[in-house]
Symmetry: C2
Subunit: 300 residues, 2 copies
Amino acid sequence: MARSDTRFREAYNRILDYCGALPPGSVMPSETGLAEIAGVSRTIIRRCLGRMEETGLLAWSGREKLLLRAPLAEDRIDLLRPEGGAEDLEQRFLDWVLRFDVPAGTALSVAELSRHFDVPQHELKEFLAGLSRFGLVSRRPQGGWMLLGFTRDFAIELSDFRSVLELDAVARLAEAPVDHPVWAELAELRAAHLRLRAAIETDFHAFSKLDERFHQALNSVVTNRFTAEFQKVISLIFHYHFMWDKTEEKTRNAAAIEEHLEIIDALEARDAPAAQAAAGRHLRTSKTTLLSSLRHHELA
Amino acid sequence: MARSDTRFREAYNRILDYCGALPPGSVMPSETGLAEIAGVSRTIIRRCLGRMEETGLLAWSGREKLLLRAPLAEDRIDLLRPEGGAEDLEQRFLDWVLRFDVPAGTALSVAELSRHFDVPQHELKEFLAGLSRFGLVSRRPQGGWMLLGFTRDFAIELSDFRSVLELDAVARLAEAPVDHPVWAELAELRAAHLRLRAAIETDFHAFSKLDERFHQALNSVVTNRFTAEFQKVISLIFHYHFMWDKTEEKTRNAAAIEEHLEIIDALEARDAPAAQAAAGRHLRTSKTTLLSSLRHHELA
DNA sequence: TTTATGTATCAAATAATAAAAAACATCGTG
DNA sequence: CACGATGTTTTTTATTATTTGATACATAAA
């Protein structure tokens, strides 16, 4: 009927672990000290000590805290929820949207999503509030939320925004110092691209992963929290769409490999204008591909 | 003990308004029709009709709905909360952070903020969740939230991000069609800058508003939801800092006017490279100013 | 057969509440 | 008597429960 005591349970086990490393009969640290060890407040520590006393693990009176015996496995409390996958909610949500092609304008029910993703409602609300900053969802006048993307406009704006960010990344990369780890990664990427080009007839499916790695490498020179936040969303959306769009996949991937190689060539030659031009061409191709994959979806 | 019935109250008054325009004795539209008129669900409409019947405004039985008399001012229900200013929470929150120079790492208490801004707690939680996407706040391990910005790193990254966006805007502007409204706005802005330059000795305070207008004009050619979302935050932060940093204000503003004029000159000449260069210079100045204003704050 | 109303179900907003954190007061000991 | 520890109280947070509102379904009138 109120908040869960997960925090207490976890702390209790952590304190038991700590006691396990202590010889029986030793005096325990102060409440404040234990609080620091377990990373929780004194309130929780006192509850832990209380329970340890009940269990006969501890003789406790005032500031006399004597550990009576080493804690056993049975002494631990088990955590109710086996660590809900509330972590990668973003990944799972976008996956759901793209995989099932949830149309723009769909009403999103927090209750339903909460059940589907096995995440408490209030966490979902916070998550949606965050997404609304990216223009992916918005509040409905009659309450609740609705999905805004994935319209054609959204795809265009996303592509444009991506271009802006990535062209900047390329510009910076061209001026990165020689000892920057990105150069080693680029060399490896070149080799990987050449290998895939040779085996394109059979392995063209492998390109998607390579593409993601390539773009991640380009952006690795930009250490900017705003850019980073967007890249997560951008890369997810682009890659899911490319994965699902099977039209001309082999030709498309072969062409993209050439474009990537052109970018790598220009970068390694430290020819910034050429790199910009090559990256611009590649980003325009990507945009076209994204838009056409949307069109196919709409027709289906 | 649960959600408020504000929605009902507002709808009831709206329905009364609608009835006021109707001659007494007339039959009222269907429930669904009324629902559409009031922008609300049938559930609420039925509650409204029920109340109107009790008040003697309406004879209601099945689908016979006869308006008995014209509604009076006394018939209206008054809304409890006199329209809380929950709208521009973003503005007010950033204002508070910058005005009181809330240091990075400060714990933000939802309860306290809720009282201070007179906004329900859950709205604040959603708001903070949104801000966390911008890296301005984050969750604390022991629960609750903390303010991350305004560190030096944050300022640098924000400035860089702003530069990327705005240089792109300038590039697009240089290629905007002649009939785009931005050209008229730029002409006006040039005149305003010249006027202010002539009166700089006395009116230098007026620059802040002009600066905001200028940057808004530049970005007006980019219609992109992602850019737009950021511009709100960016412009707020920059302008508050400039407003509070009084060191060398006159000299600073005079220099900025020249930089603005250079940009306008290049744009009107459709000289894209020159515009880029001028904008780059100006953005670098802005960044320096922002950073030095932080330093002054830190010393104080 | 269509359109309106009656009814039931489900979701959203928000107050209420247990758990946890933080603040405060008091005590014990070197 | 000062410092650090514990005892106690106050606040705050996470989470549930409850009421209002939205929506889907069933039924009846035109």
